[in-house]
């Protein structure tokens, strides 16, 4: 009987647990270790952050789903991984003592460690800014937002600053969605004229989103996502400031440095800034108790997998095979890291260094659809290893399709969303040399009411899939 341990129950971990439970749950031991008891559908947290969706519509309990799939569930935190001895140390919630869990295959799908401490003054816990990265934070963000709305109703003018909170932050798409929803919510409340909205981001141009932007052909001419986003910001009356790495936040101002090395600050009354993502804070321990981190993870804590690391950016863009295919650790081959936990071989967007030597780059996003797709792939390979002793699947981000629907307003009658469809996620300049590395037939960018319908459809169908309900397997990740 094989033992598979999955750390984390987000998009990657939960998807892997469903496929593994479905295929192996009856005859093998599949265990999921997660800090919380619920699955949270993160892409809709932006609606919670403006008070347009109740928190209970975004979560469901994991234990009943796992019971149906024959998966063991342990609520707790993994404190140590012993990859040379094939076990993890878990501290279950509410218990002082730790527990040892042995495994034959380990899936590290922890998601990111939200590094608020990486920027002084950032974050809702002890900092001055809000965040929509987790349900508790989004709930606090909603309360802070509604408090500002009350002040605006009394006649006060409020300055909202939304974007990324670190020179190496990622997930600008979520920040843009939040900005757009704030804009529309204020319009709906007839308060937009009392608000100043500012976009502050570490992307080198608006619309980069950490994937190097998107170029599509429309009516015979090529339109880039930068031009598209500039038009959106102009429409919304938003001041956009890109290429800014946030260095610190105090009670009234956000301090930043731009790509030219010029330092400045922005006054704010309400700020929602996405922090830098780091790898999981777990100790990797060897046979003699030595620290194995340098062999297993990169300095950011992300797990090293079958990628080709160390290539300079200009060579990386011409080497699609440098991106990992199986997400398997090269040193411990029964360890896999799908989703945000794996270390990418480099950024997708061109990196920038200021004259003072500070790196300001939108780092590679691998959330949502990408995470779930990799989670499924890793599960299929583990199933192959357990049943036949071999892996049969691969998916590099240079071959992987992804869709991202950025909600602008949630109404199904008058709402809107920006729909971005990219094939592949990481531009593959060898396969598509004439179209910026992307398949021109599949890659797509548009905005309109259809996007709002799409966002709502994805919200409903993904929750249905994640609950493992009828037909869950045929719903795409």
């Amino acid at each position: 009987m094989a033992k598979v341990v999955i750390i984390g129950a987000g998009f990657a971990g939960h998807t892997a647990a469903l496929y593994l439970g479905d295929a192996l749950g009856e005859d093998h031991e599949i265990t999921v270790v997660n800090k919380g008891t619920e699955f949270c559908y993160l892409p809709s947290l932006i609606w919670l952050g403006v008070g347009r969706m109740a928190p209970e519509k975004l979560v469901f309990p994991l234990a009943p789903v796992y019971e149906r799939f024959g998966v063991r569930f342990v609520q707790g935190q993994v404190t140590e991984i012993h990859p040379a001895d094939d076990y993890v140390v878990v501290r279950p919630v509410g218990e002082e003592a730790t527990r040892r869990l042995d495994y034959d295959h380990l899936i590290v799908a922890t998601g990111p460690h939200l590094d608020y401490a990486g920027t002084p003054g950032l974050g809702p816990d002890g900092g001055h800014t809000e965040s929509v990265c987790w349900i508790d934070h989004a709930t606090r963000c909603r309360d802070a937002y509604l408090e500002r709305v009350e002040r605006m109703e009394k006649g006060e003018r409020i300055r909202f600053v939304i974007g990324s909170g670190h020179p190496m932050a990622t997930c600008q798409g979520a920040a843009f969605e939040y900005l757009a929803n704030v804009h529309h919510d204020l319009l709906r409340r007839k308060l937009r004229d009392r608000a100043d909205l500012e976009w502050l981001s570490n992307e080198d141009a608006p619309g980069d989103f950490g994937v190097g932007g998107v170029q599509v052909k429309r009516r015979g001419r090529v339109v880039g996502s930068d031009t598209f986003m500039q038009a959106v910001f102009e429409d919304f009356g938003v001041t956009a400031r890109s290429g800014c790495g946030v260095l610190g936040v105090d009670e009234k101002r956000i301090h930043w440095e731009d790509l030219d090395g010029v330092e400045g600050d922005t006054r704010y009354d309400f700020a929602m800034l996405i922090p830098r993502f780091l790898g999981p804070r777990i100790r990797w321990v060897g046979k003699e108790g030595e620290d194995l981190a340098s062999r297993v993870v990169n300095p950011g804590g992300f797990v090293l997998v079958d990628a080709f690391y160390g290539l300079p950016y200009d060579r990386l863009v011409d080497t699609p095979e440098a991106w990992p295919a199986t997400y398997q650790s090269p040193n411990f081959r029964n360890v896999f890291a799908p989703g945000i936990a794996f270390a990418p071989p480099g950024p997708i967007s061109r990196p920038h260094v200021t004259p003072g030597g500070r790196q300001i780059t939108a780092t590679a996003p691998r959330t949502g659809m990408v995470s779930a797709t990799i989670g499924r792939l890793v599960a299929m390979n583990v199933i192959g290893l357990v049943r036949e002793g071999k892996m049969k699947h691969q998916a590099r981000m240079t071959e992987m399709f992804a869709a991202c629907v950025a909600s602008v307003s949630d109404s199904l009658w008058s709402g809107s969303a920006v729909s971005v469809v990219v094939m592949p996620v990481v531009p593959n300049h060898m396969r598509y040399p004439k179209s910026g590395g992307r398949d021109p037939l599949s890659t797509h960018l548009e905005s309109g009411l259809a996007g709002a319908w799409m966002k709502y459809t994805i919200h409903k169908t993904m929750l249905h899939k994640m609950k493992g309900r009828f037909g869950w397997k045929i719903i795409p990740e």
């Binding site: 440098a322 699947h393 998916a395 599949s442 548009e446 009411l449 799409m454």
Partner: protein, 108 residues
């Protein structure tokens, strides 16, 4: 670039948006289908075995499993232990090029 009145009208015109909704669904399902049909895959490792000291000639061989330090393998009728594995150059499609530094196992 600014959004024209025509674009603004179309982005809220429901019959047109229903058409766009269907187009987007087709695009997404087509892309997912392409992504899902993952090809059968087996990495081939081309390994250059080097035994320093001149006792044994170097050997180049293909293998389906990568070696790790500590593995004992049979090479030219002798057992050798792998002491280090290096990637010689970047992977090419399904080929990974490795160099395995080995030493003869004592007594064999």
């Amino acid at each position: 670039m600014t959004t024209t009145r025509g674009q603004r009208f179309l982005s809220a015109f429901k019959p047109y948006q229903l058409w766009r909704f269907l187009v987007m669904n087709v695009k997404i399902l087509r892309g997912v289908d392409r992504s899902k049909r993952l090809p059968a895959f087996r990495v081939k490792y081309k390994v250059s075995y080097v035994v320093p000291g001149g006792e044994m000639p170097s050997v180049i061989a293909n293998t389906s499993k990568p070696h790790q330090a500590g593995d004992v393998i049979r090479l030219l009728d002798r057992d050798v232990e792998v002491i280090e594995v290096r990637q010689m150059m970047r992977p090419r499609n399904q080929f990974t090029f490795l160099e395995a530094i080995c030493r003869p196992v004592e007594g064999k």
